[in-house]
Each structure stands twice: as structure tokens, then as C-alpha cells.
Subunit: 243 residues, 6 copies
């Protein structure tokens, strides 16, 4: 890969083609298949009419939102064994599902949700880099579908969604800051950063890390600028689907 | 539910609408989303260029085929916890994936496959009864796609598929034999039977069981007759997709 | 093995010698060591004065019956590692214990049992084919002993056993249908079928499967005929022990 | 229970009735059902023609002997759940199987055994106190049967058994030292001691413990004296079976 | 190692240097780092204001004390993998923590403790033989610190500690009885014995075992004599720290 | 807590008192007890003379470094159950140990390390906020001790440490950016950020997240400025210990 071009000839600040296919899982309260280039993730929201035990025991009012993330075994060229075949969830998946949960809780008013648990499941159907950010961006759409349904059924008086959220990856590849890395780029990147932001332009998460590498203030700033642009474009795509 | 009509007004010997959507998981060697009424199952075949340890140790020649079955958490109205959250695969899923594996091995020439393992993954996206039989019927299609690909890539000289296979459920509901039960019917059924057959009209599996009920020779015969008709219709649908 | 004779010179429609040795486990409410040729299984019924959580939560009345099946490590020539050493029950054992449970629940009036759980444990002491069917046939005897005890202790007013049950294996070996396969025959069989029937001649379970083989209608019919004869003989043997 | 008499009117220095029933598990290389009063344990020895990985890696010559202990679920009045249902072996069982293994290894010449593993399985069929000591006493008999078989098959040139071993429990109940406690006595005991000794009158294990109690030198001495007598009687019973 | 001298030139009846460093874990109710030569164990007591479920269910009055023992991975020259990386506690650790728990319960008046659970955690920081006995000796000190704190906070009216407890290992090395074995001696020992005693000179536990070896009455007596002396010296060291 | 003062009256840009106590675990190749205010973490480095399986299989040259993180049960006021008692490592601990591993690998030349694995164990003895950053800062010191030892033993020709690393937490509490949060502050923080930096002033990790809150560019900048100052102070403290 030369420094000059990206595998799909995108500009450094261009997103991959993003698409939301609603109702992929009709039994869920809300669901969407989000496609970002060749990355495809099923996002589905289920509603449980109770709250976790720790909330009942500590008498915390309102509801809860929890996320689960998994890569389907056929999402990668070389088949990825199921979590259950190893008897435990791997560390990467746990980290990702905790990130998804925190990101969505930041934009949901758990008090307005009432004594319910929202389960947000993100299953990767095809993995080509950026699955965790696609999951967050897609889950926001599925969540809004679920709230529409609950509002229509008069189970909610008002939407608990405070504002929309989207996420994108950025990185330094061959010394250049790039937006929305595909897998081939991700493997070459010296720094990898995931940024989760709200419609209002505020950060929810900033996670940058150099595996066997480090980065400067200037590189951090360049990546954050790309991320801001990318998130704005993703929010526009969400609006087209939802409005 | 009265004895006279079925929830979707089907005749006793009618299948639900069956449809195969290819390439649901592009990283797999072959994949299909099979839809049987409201039941939807992702079937994907991955190829591993090695065989299980027991085959190497026992110096068994040829290849192997193994199946895994799982219900995605949002496939049911009430969310189904993931296997990993309980730390183990439940008995029902194990039984089903063993059945799928046996059914497909009966029509695959493992010698012609060469020293490879075929992983057949069946993930239920929406569950409305008959998920195990839909999985077998769909997996046969995914398998044929995978063999096409291997043949095209000259990795196989000849297709290892000896003949096609399809499966259907039958049951006794309110004293009447019915073909292809949906979930509402399945819950009412006194006897539930799954039949797996080849194109050549031979049985691979016949599994009939009465939970807290029993059945007569005549009822067994009536169910087998319906199954034969259902399998023939499924094989015709497969042909339309594959030929 | 030639097609003409069976390892122990039995006729195609002959059972192995069947024997029930009561009180093998005196702490159980009812127990028996069932011997079918060289296959030997401990069947023991324990009574728990409560019902599973799901019954209490769903307010289901009556009692429950659940079965557990295990092969003792020294039941086979090559020692079989304990389930616990692998940390999980293997798929085959789970499938068998679900079959035993279903078969017995079909002949027990759970309402008459009252708010109790019957635990039916089947531990294989020596394995020479047909352990699951011997387990069902023996468990029926152990169950009846347990009911005698509960009736005598006035804990039950009436026996919850609706009718007796017995089970037998049949198969196609070298093109011939045979009754009650021993291990050497089972390994050669192209089709293996287990049939569970009641005293009244009704089916509870019919499970036929060809591993890497298939079977015709005529073969299915021949196997069912042998199974009917075998079950009748087993019921006669049970009567001799119990009456 | 008064201080003066034992539940079965035994003298303080009397064993319960001891009996060895050979060939309880015919597939094992050697097996015996040992009965000590109402306590009954299946002891079976299997031979594996290889050694554990750590021996191969550390290039230790000779063979190995390992023991596994389990209580069958119907061995107690109140059913004891299987280890597998809790997913792990409980601490007590682990402790006991380590004791059995150590005790037998002390009398087996592992060098003479050759590159083999002996698996000694002890499954409690009925539990009335003293199951671990009965297991050791019975396992010694099963081991000798297994060695006879290996010698006869010319797989061994010489028996690896250096001398016989037997084990017995002693305790302080209501201030009195008693030999071979049954369960009712064990529950009342302030001190419980297990002693494993060889034919030559040497100790292999001495394990005395006071749960919520303590004991003096004199009590220790009294218990050891009873244990010596008990072991001598057990060795005599073994001789009657074996010679 | 010649028979005449010990690695650190100690006399056969001499303890290693013993030291107690209080407050190693300030969040615990009582804690101490016990050092016995090069063996170092963190002993910490935590108080939970409730009792285990089995006590509540069986309506047992008073409190409970339970111990957990673990070797930190860097306590040995060759790193010891954590229990969690194998998914289960190994048999040796379970046996040791059961021993620590029993030993301490023998000197604690659980009735006076009230409806509380004492958690005694023993983590080995450096292992050079005798970790289990150091853990018991140190835990007694940590326990007394915890009781001081509870008394001072008026949560207890009276100390539940009935008397102090200490433990020491003894063994037969090259035919000679030795007190307080270090790791190099322990590896050479033909017999290994752990003795737990109270201030009042009574035994709580006597556990002697010969791995691939046996021992005589005279050797048992010699080891017990050394143990009595060792425990007396340890109790003196505890007094210096506590009084 | 008013906005004006911190619990320990520190200035917003002041670290807690930091101290390194070497040789806490003498069997390790290098070890240190790092104290940051009331937070205390044992950091120990063990050397294994082999590399993980995946490196051997993929023929990756050089060595590896892996970290494990655990909270000792008595590190918190309310006792924290051990990982092993729940059978699995919790998500938070996994995430932290992955962070520690990545941070250290960024400053270690794995090629120079040779075919070895460095195990970095971080066990929290007392938890008062900032345990993961203290672990990284302390582990760097322990690592350098381990390299000194390997250099002295001529096992390494040159130190694989490219430069030192330190880590610190920052956060937004009541609208104010604060350096090095203690637990009481951490609980009140709307945003929590961990920053890992090298001596050369480059970032290794930047992880900022708002749980149920968001943050602006200006807040991000303010936190990064504090982090830079904190890391510089920590590096100075490391120098005092190491040089």
C-alpha cells in the first residue's frame, strides 16, 4: 500500500459508503443492518420489563441499557470460533460491548425509560474494520426505532433519547491521518483511535492507542479533526434514514 | 385455535412460503438466508484446510463436516440470553446441531472433500417454529454454493454432494396431522416429528416424539406421508434457486 | 461379521437376555440394576419435595420428572473420562437424558405426583450397545418401586404411573433388520433406530437415523415391526419382576 | 445417642461387617464392590498405555497412578447433585481423591509398572460414613485384581504392588475413642481421624482434625491404637478375598 | 544436601526466623504480612455483615469464618499461572483453604461473633515451603487485630477468640526428623506433616503423609515432639507482636 | 464535596504522594510496590524462556510481553470476591490488563528481548482510585529492575527498554479539570480520562469517557494539559528511584 492512495481510492477524510437497512430482525423492538463499506453489523434492541438485580437491590430508579457484541463465525475469511466453544467471551469483545453500552447510556435518559432494560445486541455479519463504531452508529438507529414503537404503543410518554450519537475510527497510516479505516488500513496503522460524539458536537468517548507505537499532539489533533467531520457525515446519514 | 383452520389458513398439507436469499454472509464460502414463513435462518459454510484432531490421530482419510446452531438473542419476542452468558450450550441446541451435522454428512462424500473441514453455521434470525428443519434445508443450498466456489477455484475436481437433502416438521394438532408447523401450532401439538429426506426419496432421519402424549401407527403413517410431500416441495424450491 | 449370524447367535428378532436386580442403591426411593446382555445400567429414582423454579414462577401445578444419564468411566474397555474432567456434559449424554425424561413423563401423571420432583438417574456400569433403551426400560421399573414406597408411606393416594413403558433399539446391519443391537452390531449398522412404546402399544418416541447412510420406507417398516415385538417382550420381563 | 452404646451395638474397637464383591464392572482391568456396613463403594482400575504429559515432558521414567472419587447422586437419602451440574468438583471430593492416589502410590512400584497410567475410580453407591477409607481398602483389592490380569496377559513380568494397604476412620464421640464410625457417629464426633497403613504396620497417612474442637495427646494415642487394630482386621479380610 | 546440616545451618528443632508486619492491607479489618524465613504470606481479615445462605436457610445462629488461599504468580521462581487462567482452583489450594478455615473455626466462638462472616484471605507473596502453616499462624494474628477493631468500634462486646492457634510443618528428611522445612528440605522429605495446635497445647489438626514412602510409630512420635516445640515458639512470637 | 477544595487539599494540578518500594516480591525478576496516596499496587515481572504458541506458529521473531491485573479481595473496604469464585475475569479487569500490556509493549523492543515472555503482574493491595495508571507507572520501574538483572546475568546484551513510560488519570469534577483523582473524586467525575505517555512526551494511550455525560473540546484540552504535567512529575519520581 503506497502512502498516496487508499485501497478503495477514498480521500483521507472520506467515509466508506454507509447504509441502514431497517427491520433485519422483526421480533426485536427495533433493528437495523448497518453497512459501512464491506463491514456489516446487525443491531437489534430488545425490551425487558424489569431492571437488573443490582438496581433493585440498591433501589436505583429508572431503567438500564446494556449491550452485547459478537462476531458471527462467518464474518471473517478465516472462520472465527464461537465464544461458547471457548467457554468465555474474549477480552476484545468485552471491551467493545462495554464501550457500546457506555456510549448509548450517555444519550438515553434512563429515568424517562422507566423500570425497563434495553438490550442492544450487535452481531457482526461481515468484518472489514470499524465494527465497533459501525455498531454504535447502527445501534443509535435501532434504538430510535424501538422508542418509536414504545411511544406508539403508549408504553412511553416521551422519547428517552436525548440526542443522537455516532462513532467513527481514525488512525495514522504511513504517517498520514485517515478517516474510517478498513481492515487492510487498520493492520498498517501505527495509531488507531475511536471517537464517539453526539449530535451536539460533544465527545462521549475518545480512545486512541498506539500498539508498539506512539503519537504526538499534532497527530492527535489531526485525528480529532477527521473524526469530527466523519461523525457529522454519519449523523447526516442517520437523519436520512430516520426522518 | 379451532381444529378446522390453521393460523395462516394453510391447508394441512401446505408448506409455508419458502425463500432462499443467497450471499447473506459474503466472507463465507457459501451462504444463504432461508425464510420459511416468519422463520428466518442464516446458513453459512466456511472451509478450513485441515481436519479435526481425532481424524489425524486415527489416520482417517477424507474430510469432515460439522454444524453449529444458535438462536440469535433477538430471534424471539422475549429476548433469549446468549449461550455464552450461561457459559454453556443448552441441550436443545446441541441436539439440533448434531442432527444438522448428521443430515448433511449423509449426502456429502467426505472422501471427495479431501483433508478439509466444512463448518456449517446456522443462526436463527427469527424463530417461528421449524428452525432446525429450515436450517437443514438452507444449509444444503449454502453447501452447494460453497462447492461451486471450490470447484471454480479448482480446489475440488468433482462436487462431493451426492444428492440434495431437505427437512420438514410434521405433527399431530388437535388430532389432525399437519405439515410444517408454525410456533403457535407447535405449542399445541401432541406429537412433533422432524423428517430429513434425500432427493432420492430415502430417509436420513425420522424423529417423532410425544411430550406427555403418545401416538399410534396410523398417526405415524399420516405424518410420514405429509413429510414426503413437504420434502418434495422443498426440493423443488431448492432447485429453482440453484439451477 | 457375516450377514448370516449375530455375534451371540441370536435370531434377528430376539432380545438379549434381560434381567432386573432391585435395590442396587438402597438410599434411593426405588432402584434397579438392569442387565441386557452385557449392557448394565443402574437406574435410581430420588424424590425431592419441591418443584423446579420455572414451575413455581409460572405457577404450574403438579410435579416434575427429570432424568440424568452418565457413563461411568470404567463402563468401556478404553476408560471414558468423566464429564467433570472436561467441565461439561457431552452432547450425546444430554440428548439421551432428555430422551429418558420425555419418555417417562409421557406415562406419569404429573398432576397426581403432587408438588414433587422425581430425579431419575441412569449410570451405565457396562456398555455394550443399547444403553439408552435399557435405561428407559429399567427406569420404568425403578419408578414403579418408588411409587410403591410412596404409596405405602401414604405420601401418594394413587400411583401416578399411567402405564408401563419400554424401549428397544433396532437397526439395519448388512442390509438386514435386527432387534436389540449389541455394540459390535451397532458399529456395523447403516441405520440405528430407538423406539419407545407404552404397554398400550402406542409410540412415545421413534428416532431413526442413518449416519453416512439413508433408508427406505420398507426398511423403516421392518424396523418398526421388530421394535414392536421387542417392546412386548421387555414389558413381559418387567411384569415378571414387578407383579 | 448415649455414650454407652453404638447405633449397631458394636464394641468401640469393632469394625463394621466388611465384604468385597469382585467383578462389579467387568470392562475394568480389576473391580470390586466394597461394602462396609451400609457404606458401599465401586472401586475399578483401568489401564491406559501412556503416561501423563508432565511425565513425558520431564522425562520421568516408569508409570503413574491417579484416583478419582465421586458420590453417585442416589448414594445419600437426600439426592446429591452431580459435580457436572455445578460445573466443578467440590473441595471435599478433590481432597479425597488426592488422598486415595497418594495412599496407593505409596505401595505401588511405579518403575515396575512401566509407561502406563492406572486410573482408580471410586464411586460411592451408598454413603454411611467412612467412604474414603472404604475406597482405599477396596481399591487395593481392585488393584491386585488388575495386576493379576496384566501378569496373566504377560504385560507385566512382576507385580508392582509392594505390599497391601488398608484404611480406617477413628474418632472421639462423646469423649470416647471409637473405631470405624458410621454416619450417625461421624456427625456427633468432636474429632475425626483417617489412618492409612501398610501390611508392614507402617503409616502412609494420618489425618486427624477437630472441627470446632481440639484433642489431646492421649486421645491421639487412643485413636491410633484403634486404627492399628482396625487396619489389621481389614488386611485379614482382604487376604480372605484375594488368597 | 548431606544428612548432617540444613541449608541454613539451623538445628533440627529450630524454627526459621519469624516476623509479623501489621497493616499490610489497610482496608482490611485486620492484616499482617507474616514472614517465616523466605516464606512470606499476606493474611487479611474482612468482615461481612451477613452469613452464608446455608446458615440462613438452616437457621443456624451465630456467624461463620471462611478462608481463601492463593499463591501469587510471582511467589515462585518459575511463574505460577493464576487460578483464573485455568478457570478453576487447583486441588492443593482448595485443600489448604479448607484446612485454614477449620483451624481458625476451632478457636473462634462463632456464637459470640454474631451474624457476621469473617473472610480470611491468605495470599503467598514468596514461597519457600510451609506456606499453609505460615498462613494459619499469621491469620491468627490478623484475626486478633480484626477483633480489636470490632471491639473498639463496639461492634463486639467480647472477643470471640477462645485461644490462639499456630501451625508448623515437620518432616523426615534423610531419616532425620526436622522442624519447619524449607522448600529444598520439603522436596527431599519422605514424610511431610503439618500440625496445628492451640495455646493450651491441644491438637486441632495432625496431617502426616508419605508420598511414595511410609513411616513408623517412632517417626510419628519424633515429629509430634518437634511440632510441639515449634508451635510453642510460634505462640511466643505472636505474643511479642500482639501484647 | 464543594467545588473549591479536594479531599486532601491538593491543588487541581497536583499528584498524590508517589513512592516506589523495590523488591516486594523477591522471587520475581523485578518487583516494586508502588504507592500513590492510599492506592497501593504490587508490580512484578517474571521471565519465561519461551514465547506464546501463536508466535511460534506464525514464526514471529523476538519476544512478548503480557500483563495481568487483579484486585486482591481485601483491597477495598467491602471485600471484593476473587475472580476464581465467579469462574471468570470480569470485563473491567480484562480491559485494564490489555491496556497495561499495550502500554508497556510500546516502549519495549521485543526484538531485543529475544525469544522470551515477560509476565507483568499487577495486584492491587489497596484501591483508592487510579489503580490502572499506578500499575503502568509501577510496572515500568519493575520492568527496568528486571532488565538490570538480565543484563547483569548476561542474558541480555542491551536493555530492550526504549524509553520510560508513566500514566495518570485526569477528570472533570464539578466542571473543573483535576489531576490524579482519588476514589471519592472519581465517583463524582462526569468525565474520566487515562493518559499514558513516554519520556519523550509522546502519547501511547488516551482514553477519555463520559459515563452518562459528555465533554467539549476545551475540556479535552484542559485534561490533556494536566495529564502532561502529571506524567512529567511521575517520570521524575521514577528517575529518583531508578538512577
Amino acid at each position: 500500500m503506497t502512502a498516496a492512495t487508499r485501497p478503495d481510492r477514498r480521500k483521507p477524510d472520506a467515509l466508506r459508503c454507509i447504509r441502514f437497512r431497517p427491520k433485519i430482525a422483526p421480533e426485536a423492538a427495533g433493528s437495523v443492518l448497518v453497512e459501512s463499506g464491506r463491514t456489516r453489523v446487525i443491531c437489534a434492541v430488545s425490551v425487558e420489563e424489569s431492571v437488573p438485580r443490582w438496581m433493585r437491590e440498591q433501589k436505583v430508579s429508572g431503567g438500564w441499557l446494556t449491550a452485547e457484541y459478537s462476531m458471527l463465525p462467518y464474518s471473517t475469511r478465516e472462520r472465527k470460533p464461537r465464544d461458547i466453544s471457548k467457554g468465555r467471551l474474549d477480552g476484545r469483545s468485552q471491551e467493545i460491548q462495554r464501550l457500546i453500552g457506555r456510549s448509548l447510556r450517555a444519550v438515553v435518559d434512563l429515568e424517562k425509560l422507566g423500570a425497563r432494560t434495553l438490550w442492544v445486541d450487535c452481531d457482526v455479519l461481515q468484518a472489514d474494520g470499524g465494527t465497533r463504531t459501525a455498531a454504535i452508529t447502527g445501534a443509535c438507529v435501532a434504538l430510535e426505532f424501538a422508542f418509536h414503537k414504545l411511544l406508539k404503543a403508549k408504553l412511553l410518554a416521551e422519547s428517552p433519547l436525548k440526542e443522537r450519537v455516532a462513532a467513527v475510527s481514525v488512525g495514522i497510516v504511513n504517517g498520514r491521518a485517515l478517516l474510517d479505516l478498513c481492515y487492510a488500513e487498520d493492520k498498517e496503522a501505527s495509531v488507531d483511535m475511536n471517537v464517539v460524539m453526539t449530535e451536539g458536537g460533544r465527545f462521549i468517548e475518545v480512545q486512541g492507542s498506539g500498539e508498539e507505537a506512539t503519537f504526538t499532539d499534532a497527530e492527535l489533533e489531526a485525528m480529532l479533526a477527521l473524526a469530527r467531520k466523519g461523525v457529522a457525515d454519519l449523523l447526516a446519514a442517520q437523519r436520512k434514514t430516520l426522518d
